[in-house]
């Protein structure tokens, strides 16, 4: 079995982001980056499918040269090789452009299963996987919490809303978008980090990008729904003041 897992590099969750001067993107030149967390669950699921059924796991990532950081990490965790679709424009491209770039570069690999995370922590489009499925002509299922591999088919557990679930089966090749929490993540071992250095990373340069389906005209800090009353001072004083306000003003205690 050949499994592709698509990962994205995003700005580190704790990075104090500010809007860039262009007001259409964030200032991320000095930012630190990490693997998009939902994609880490997709990677983990690919590695577990490999351990259980035997498979080759290929990491696919689209973005500028700096994306090699998360590719190395995925290889260190146990992926076998990688395809890096490299282009600076892909750093802030929308799901459509990313999916198109990935589809063109991985179509000929003949993957049996393609996994993506549910959504990205930056743009949060939550549709790169679904668009990729359409562009590769694959059936798909989304928000997956369990994967069973059968003969030429997959049986997967979809999360629905309000605590409901549903098993769906579909023929391979197929694409799944993986829900966070499907498994427990592993970390790279020292041995894995050493081994990753010898693994193949194929760099592909996309030939032009599709026209964007949308344009960000302005990025800004949202207006508040409520005026938050901030309580300052040393922790002990702030805590006492909060208890007083909760009791006397909010009548919540």
């Amino acid at each position: 079995m050949k499994i592709a897992v698509c990962i994205k590099q995003v700005v580190t969750r704790d990075w104090p982001l500010r809007v860039a001067e262009s007001a259409t993107w964030v200032r991320d030149q000095e930012a630190s980056f990490e693997m998009n967390e939902p994609d880490a669950y997709a990677l983990e699921e690919a590695l577990r499918l490999k351990e259980k059924n035997g498979a080759e796991v290929v990491v696919c990532a689209a973005g500028p040269a700096r994306v090699s950081q998360v590719i190395r990490e995925a290889l260190a965790r146990g992926a076998d090789r990688a395809i890096h679709v490299q282009s600076d424009e892909l750093a802030f491209a929308d799901a459509n452009a990313v999916a198109e770039a990935l589809a063109t570069s991985i179509r000929d690999e003949g993957f049996d299963v393609v996994l993506t995370g549910l959504q990205s922590d930056d743009q949060g489009f939550g549709q790169t996987g679904v668009i990729l499925a359409e562009r590769m002509g694959l059936p798909h299922a989304t928000i997956i919490m369990e994967v069973e591999v059968g003969d030429g088919r997959l049986r997967v557990k979809r999360e629905l809303e309000s605590g409901w679930f549903q098993w769906v089966s579909l023929p391979t090749p197929a694409l799944l978008t993986i829900q966070s929490g499907i498994n427990q993540l592993r970390y790279a071992t020292l041995k894995g980090i050493m081994a990753a250095k010898r693994k193949e990373v194929r760099i592909v340069t996309p030939e032009g990008l599709p026209t964007a389906g949308h344009r960000i005209l302005k990025l800004y800090v949202p207006e508040k729904d409520k005026a938050t009353r901030f309580i300052e001072g040393p922790p002990a004083n702030a805590a006492r003041e909060l208890v007083r306000l909760l009791r006397e003003e909010a009548r919540a205690l």
């Binding site: 809007v19 949060g124 549709q127 679904v130 668009i131 966070s180 938050t228 702030a238």
Partner: protein, 323 residues
């Protein structure tokens, strides 16, 4: 003309569809509602109460149960025939499952999870959160109509949907769906074993997020929950990590709560969490980042190190009891 795609499952209308109707009406254009399924006539009648120009009924046996392949095929035909300027969905799990594929098939992109609509230079702009709700963006769909967008649950009040004085006209739309071409075979939906914890009944909730850093620090918040006689809850990442069981999760994929008091500790306030708790009467945010989105909904905030503030709060409550 705006086309609203209503959602039904098992012949029951998903009430968030009314939120989308309400948003489409606010935009001032002619609005048509589409409902698809195997004989969804009862739901069509329910929707015909809305002040819209038409309710379009897409009736085909291959549309029950829901599959992404079936719905992409059917709704794409409706869009091609009706030629709307804008197609709107509620941003549900079902929409997320097929609407992006539908947009791709029609050579467009779905603009998802929008919280607002506005006009600008004679065109439409959609407003959507980005970077986990830290920012919002004004977004313009590019290229010619139709454009596609989904609306965040709760962003437009369902009660604002205007009812008509007489029922809207209903019209059947014939679609050709090849049942054999549907690749997904869904089984019956089910619920996991009964949830042990019912957070919806809790008067007070202490909720913990990533800021707690490690499962071994949980006693810090457990102590506060005990002092407040509150239920302990968590944001999704805490449950994903297995630090607390899934039935303690508040948010779009967990429970929706509205307690008298909700204390969010080390929770940045991603929209998936906020939708599950913003109905709480009094919200307290404790977070090291003053820009965290939790402070968009918090009544009271303390900015700082939760490992100092939470024990101080537990102590202050103890002192308070004894006086």
């Amino acid at each position: 003309m705006i086309l609203v795609i209503a959602e039904q499952r098992g012949d029951v209308l998903n009430p968030v569809s009314w939120e989308t109707v309400s948003a489409a009406q606010q935009f001032g254009d002619a609005v048509k509602i589409v409902v698809a399924g195997d004989g969804p006539f009862g739901i069509a009648e329910e929707l015909a109460a809305a002040d819209v120009s038409e309710v379009l009924v897409v009736d085909h046996p291959a549309l029950e149960p829901y599959t992404s392949d079936g719905f992409v095929d059917a709704i794409a035909q409706v869009v091609r025939v009706e030629q709307p300027e804008l197609v709107l969905w509620p941003h549900t799990y079902q929409t997320r499952d097929y609407a992006p594929k539908l947009a791709t098939r029609l050579d467009r992109v779905l603009i998802p999870d929008c919280t607002g609509l506005k006009t600008h230079d004679g065109g439409r702009l959609l407003i959507r959160p980005m970077f986990q709700g830290k920012f919002v963006a004004d977004v313009r769909p590019e290229g010619p109509a139709p454009h596609f967008a989904s609306l965040q649950i709760g962003a437009f009040p369902a009660v604002s949907a205007v009812r008509g004085t007489v029922p809207a006209a209903m019209r059947a739309i014939n679609v050709d769906v090849d049942a054999d071409a549907i690749r997904q075979q869904p089984e019956k939906p089910f619920k996991e074993a009964k949830q042990a914890v019912d957070l919806t009944q809790a008067e007070r909730i202490v909720a913990v997020g990533r800021g707690i850093k490690d499962a071994e620090h949980l006693p810090v918040v457990q102590g506060l929950a005990k002092a407040l006689d509150a239920e302990l809850a968590a944001s999704r990442p805490i449950c994903d990590s297995g630090w607390l069981p899934m039935d303690r999760q508040v948010g779009s994929s967990g429970q929706t709560v509205a307690p008298k008091l909700y204390i969010a500790i080390g929770i940045s306030g991603a929209i998936q969490h906020l939708v599950g708790m913003k109905g709480a009467k009094t919200i307290v945010g404790i977070n090291k980042d003053v820009d965290a989105p939790i402070f968009e909904v918090a009544d009271y905030g303390i900015v700082g190190d939760l490992f100092e503030i939470v024990p101080a709060l537990t102590t202050a409550l103890g002192d308070d009891e004894s006086t």
